[in-house]
């Protein structure tokens, strides 16, 4: 059982790409490109209004076709992460509308979507408890752990694929999404590897924010 200590693919982002959204980002992780937008706090519809918290509405749009069950699954996972990081108690009876649009599928859509949503939330100025970084890793048929696989590696087949999301304060696990069957030790190894990789993503967020505010001077 070897572990391939790959690094995650190149990260790129452009913030404030949409003029009408409160926060938006075009984010790419290798060949996977995702656009996320945040509108909020907005006035919530009466049926969705929560008296003590902000209601989070999340839409995931695939590149082609109508959103189906797989998209609803992704929406639920990303929404769980958002509920953890957004300070919803500061805006009761309002709603925030987050939209994730798949631009190009290069392998790790769920992780890329979570990272894009985090950057869009940073861009929008909504109060956050912490940031989140998501990393995917794959255990292939030869029991090798591959970090941040590209679409060709995924298509070759795998024993299991994990997506983990970590918070920025203590690098604790916020979300874990697993497909497949592996022994527990392998799962633990994968999680530790992903946790180390999440530091790279947090550094990237820091750089993105520094670049954005480098022009603000008096």
């Amino acid at each position: 059982m070897e572990t391939e200590e790959n690094s995650i693919r190149a990260l790129k982002c452009e913030q404030s790409v949409l003029s009408r959204a409160d926060g938006s980002v075009m984010f790419s992780q290798g060949n996977t490109v995702v656009m996320a937008s945040v509108y909020g706090p907005l006035e919530a519809k009466i049926q969705k209004e929560l008296s003590d918290r902000m209601y989070i509405e999340l839409n995931y749009k695939p590149k082609t076709g109508m959103p189906g069950v797989a998209e609803r699954g992704k929406e639920k996972l990303i929404k769980t992460t958002c509920n953890h990081i957004i300070l919803t108690n500061l805006h009761p009876r309002t709603a925030v509308c987050i939209t994730v649009q798949e631009m190009q599928d290069g392998g790790t859509l769920l992780a890329a979507s979570i990272n894009a949503v985090c950057l869009a939330l940073l861009d929008s100025g909504l109060p956050l408890q912490c940031l989140v970084a998501a990393v995917t890793c794959l255990v292939d048929k030869k029991d090798r752990i591959i970090l941040d696989p590209c679409i060709s590696t995924v298509k070759e087949g795998y024993k299991a694929m994990f997506t983990f999301a970590f918070d920025s304060q203590k690098y604790n696990l916020i979300l874990s999404h697993c497909e497949g069957q592996v022994p527990y030790q392998l799962f633990q190894k994968a999680m530790v590897l992903c946790q180390k990789a999440s530091h790279v993503i947090f550094d990237f967020y820091r750089q993105a924010v520094l670049r954005k505010f480098s022009n603000e001077l008096l």
């Binding site: 190149a10 452009e14 913030q15 003029s19 075009m26 805006h91 309002t94 993105a208």
Partner: protein, 188 residues
């Protein structure tokens, strides 16, 4: 490698959403009349309400004539996360303090919130320097809206442009901008 923020001047307008804070002076657009009060859009998640007798010298029999679509410069009396924001155009003694309906011969434009805070900072001399070149009336709303009225349309637009483009400038660049502005207005 991160992309640089979008630098198209007209598009980088709404970055941060305004969150109402008590005591802020804001510029709002009247959207509706509900009973004895008006609903005013101040750019926050909820529309604010402005009572029709919260004006200097207003009584139940003598209310100001406000139409839907009018601009008002008002102060936030109530602004909490749990309640609808409430605006007033008087101070606590009922006196006129420069708030109220803004005339339609002025020009309203939007500016990012960080820029508003920069302009209202006592250390920022941009508005004072522009005032030396031209005389104009200005209302700066903490919700990102600025209303300007100068003697002619050309002057109004020139002032609005000067304020918009000074968003990313530091002190020296702003002084340079003001000097250029003064020169242009003087005809050079």
């Amino acid at each position: 490698m991160c992309g640089s923020p979008a630098r198209t001047n007209q598009n980088e307008i709404e970055e941060e959403k305004y969150v109402p804070a008590r005591g802020d002076d804001v510029i709002g657009v009247v959207t509706n009349k509900v009973g004895e009060s008006y609903k005013v859009n101040i750019g926050s998640s909820e529309e604010a309400s402005l009572s029709s007798i919260a004006f200097p010298g207003a009584t139940k029999k003598n209310k100001p004539n406000i139409q839907i679509g009018d601009l008002v410069f008002a102060k936030l009396l109530i602004a909490s996360i749990d309640m609808e924001p409430e605006l007033v155009c008087v101070n606590s003694l009922g006196e006129n303090v420069g708030l109220g309906v803004l005339s339609t011969s002025g020009f309203l434009f939007t500016v990012p919130l960080h820029h508003i805070r920069k302009l209202l900072n006592p250390e920022c001399t941009l508005l004072k320097s522009l005032g030396k070149a031209l005389s104009f009336e200005i209302a700066v709303g903490m919700n990102g809206k600025i209303w300007i009225k100068a003697k002619s349309v050309k002057q109004t637009i020139a002032l609005a442009r000067a304020i918009s483009i000074s968003e990313h400038m530091n002190k020296e660049e702003m002084n340079k901008l003001c000097r250029k502005f003064v020169d242009r207005q003087a005809g050079f």
